[in-house]
Amino acid sequence: MANLESEFVGIKSPNPFWLASAPPTDKEYNVRRAFEAGWGGVVWKTLGEEGPPVVNVNGPRYGAIHGADRRLLGLNNIELITDRPLEVNLEEMLRVKRDYPDHALVASVMVPCEEDSWKKILPMIAETGCDGFELNFGCPHGMAERGMGSAVGQVPDYIEMVARWCKEATDLPVIVKLTPNITNILYPAEAAKRGGADAVSLINTINSITSVNLDSFAPEPTIDGKGTHGGYCGPAVKPIALNMVAEIARNPETHGLPISGIGGVTTWRDAAEFMALGAGNVQVCTAAMTYGFKIVQEMISGLSQYMDEKGMTSTADLVGRAVPNVTDWQNLNLNHVTKARINQDLCISCGRCYAACEDTSHQAISISEDRVFDVKDDECVACNLCVNVCPVDNCITMETLAPGAMDERTGQPVEADYGNWLGHPNNPSVQAAE
């Protein structure tokens, strides 16, 4: 069985599955049970300054998007950082780390954007024996209104400044947690690196309103008739998170900067995808909140099996494997020609491919009197929509035309050589060069 032991910015854990800073990691009771269940590490629910803790709303804190069978697809929260006193959290962290020395315990921190605040609290927290810090520059609701969380994460200069303060205040690894509520994830990531951060973790939650109550005309979750945007997470946000992780992983300025991948990780497969795109480990929250701590058993067994099948002996063999294959559009091979192929033995004649292609794409699928669907090669641009809407696995696939084969749509044989937009005759800059 593959060795899942993980080392992330020097922090060791039995596996790369950490629980993200969130309600599941709010107290000793939960964290002990999470470690017993098999989680490799936790990022403790975000700690704030000494003194009276924040208060949370007492109405609903979560909203959700469901599938038809109430499968939870997306979750939104308006909960703030820990609402328990700092000293209580620190005592508990100390006890937990003492009893679980081989598991990762990282402290998430959010204090006002002042040098003294950060430099005062980090040494206090370090006394718990924690393995590192995660700077919460991500939370988009509540705390952001007070100049913290994503209010910091949306200003690269602040990120750099606070990261630098923290690195001056501690020898422990500092991870900067990034908000996705920005135009370009590279700016905050580069700022974190400039500030000396050891790693970034992403994504935090996305500004969201999950739904509107059409009787009370209030956003959900509704607290006494009003609602506010929350942070969106869960399976629905994974594609957004994957892209942001990949952008940082392949950007020359940030390439090599360790990444802790977060955003909709629900199964081992999600975790493996994040890792292939450059995440050294992953953090999980919504899946645990939906199904409980036990899901980590599937993550461990699934990733182990996959790595065994691929001949990978450590997670390092997987991390970043897909990064070289993420590129800009302009580098894609325009001479690569495919055509949709419908397997008539698997086809159940639902006609969804036909409706999609006829109504919304390229009119490249025909329907016969007896509901046999065929691809018109002279119209098919290989958009893949038919593949995506077909309800049957592998019924419609894309066949790559071999070099020299006739592309009936263009009337030209498929070229053997790679050719992208940069050299394409229709590219104005190519014409200008001539």
């Binding site: 038809a68 639902c350 509901r371």
Partner: protein, 439 residues
């Protein structure tokens, strides 16, 4: 103490609670969440095969999508605009040979979308709210007579009323509804649904129901054609085929349709008498309805005997499986040769036949306190329009050989003898009548 073992024909073979439970809804209605899950399985096919398979052409993918998006009332209107008896059809349609057989998920995985149950979910929602979503058009001053208050007649009458015509429905039975009221197994239409549906249908207005009247009994076709601007015949098949074997006249040899009707009208199922040993002869829905209900009443042995092979039975696989699950023994390739008994039936003798109905010479006897005949019904009536092979000859839109007279449902040629087919024929005839009256 009466029990299943008690000889003869008696009531109360099972405890009242057991019988009541036996006659509860065959399919419990889907609850809201079940409906969401079932609706989510619909692929919203292009030019969906289920629509083609429905004799009334209900836009099934659309109504399922309307359920999935939380508007079952809108779904019901989609259904009812094509099939005004969509509530009953949701209960009695052999969906496994119609829409659900055509469902692409049947092809894909052998598990079609639960179209029938979803249709019931939608129509129940609307009817439970006592909403009638159709309005009567402004009066045309035209009068149409509808003979027969069954599915064809009701469907025709509703469509005509919606066009603004005045409709009078004549029916010999005390209640409107036809086979919906008198001819369907009790567990398929519980809580007086057929009567409630008729009451709901009549909310359109402009329809008068006159019971106790049929052709030759208070009315004649020639009177109707002179008094009304048009006539629609939806008179069903009033006669029952005979066994044509010795001893058929003995006590205890009964028509299955009467047994089914009596059971439907019984206020207490426990008061209905049933034999210890019951034999049902026939292979269609009526035979299954009778056999299953005999078993539900507590008959110890119920045999359903059909003269051809299993694959030729008109009862669908679902119905056959239902019968088997209730303990009905299905015997095929056997024809009745004689009813034996001194006054009342005691036994019935059958002869095995091959697939071409040729006798094999081998016989067997079944003990029988009751024999229910369910070998088909026949058209009865004098002075009807032209008849061919036992049915009134009609065009695609229900026109008969007599000018101004349309016909549909089981009494008319074309289509299967199904509630849903009758609804379609009544509706289409109404459209043609309306066109003729508007010309």
């Amino acid at each position: 103490m009466t029990s299943q073992m008690t000889p003869g024909v008696v009531a109360g073979r099972l405890a009242k609670e057991v019988i009541d439970d036996n006659f509860a809804d065959l399919h419990a209605p889907l609850d809201g969440h079940e409906a969401m899950v079932a609706a989510d399985r619909c692929y919203f096919c292009h030019d969906a095969p289920c629509i083609t398979a429905c004799p009334t052409d209900i836009d099934i993918p659309l109504f399922i999508r309307q359920i999935a998006s939380g508007t079952p009332e809108a779904a019901a209107k989609t259904i009812l605009s094509q099939n005004i008896l969509g509530g009953m059809c949701a209960r009695v349609c052999p969906t496994e040979t119609l829409c659900e057989q055509a469902c692409v998920r049947e092809a894909a995985e052998g598990k079609p979308v639960k179209i029938g149950e979803l249709q019931r979910f939608a129509t129940d929602a609307l009817m439970d709210a006592n909403v009638h979503p159709f309005e009567r058009g402004s009066s045309t001053g035209k009068k149409v007579a509808v003979v027969g208050a069954g599915p064809a007649g009701l469907s025709c009458a509703h469509r005509l009323a919606s066009k603004g015509h005045d409709v009078v429905i004549f029916d010999p039975r005390p209640k409107a509804g036809g086979l919906n009221e008198y001819g369907i197994a009790t567990y398929k239409s519980v809580d007086n649904f057929a009567a409630r549906e008729v009451g709901w249908l009549l909310q359109i207005g402009g329809i008068t129901v006159e019971t106790g009247k049929s052709l030759g009994n208070g009315i004649t076709l020639s009177d109707l054609t002179s008094e009304f601007d048009a006539v629609f015949l939806g008179i069903g098949l009033g006669g029952v085929n005979a066994l044509r074997c010795d001893g058929e006249d003995k006590d205890g040899v009964l028509d299955a349709v009467d047994f089914i009707a009596d059971l439907r009208q019984a206020s207490e199922f426990g008061t209905v008498e049933i034999g210890r040993d019951v034999v049902v002869i026939g292979g269609g829905m009526t035979a299954v309805d009778a056999a299953v209900q005999a078993k539900l009443l507590g008959a110890l042995n119920v045999s359903l005997v059909y003269r051809r092979g299993k694959d030729r039975m008109n009862a669908s696989d679902f119905e056959q499986d239902l019968a088997a699950s209730k303990g009905v023994r299905i015997i095929t390739n056997a024809s009745p040769r004689g009813v034996i008994g001194n006054g009342s039936v005691r036994e019935i003798e059958f002869e095995y036949t091959d697939d071409d109905l040729a006798p094999t010479g081998e016989t067997f006897r079944l003990a029988a306190d009751q024999v229910f005949k369910a070998i088909g019904q026949t058209l009865v009536g004098d002075d009807l329009p032209d008849i061919d092979r036992g049915k009134i000859t009609v065009t695609e839109t229900g026109r008969t050989s007599v000018a101004g007279v349309w016909a549909g449902g089981d009494c008319a040629s074309g289509g299967e003898d199904l509630t849903v087919t009758a609804v379609a024929e009544g509706r289409d005839a109404a459209e043609d009548i309306h066109a003729a009256l508007s010309a």
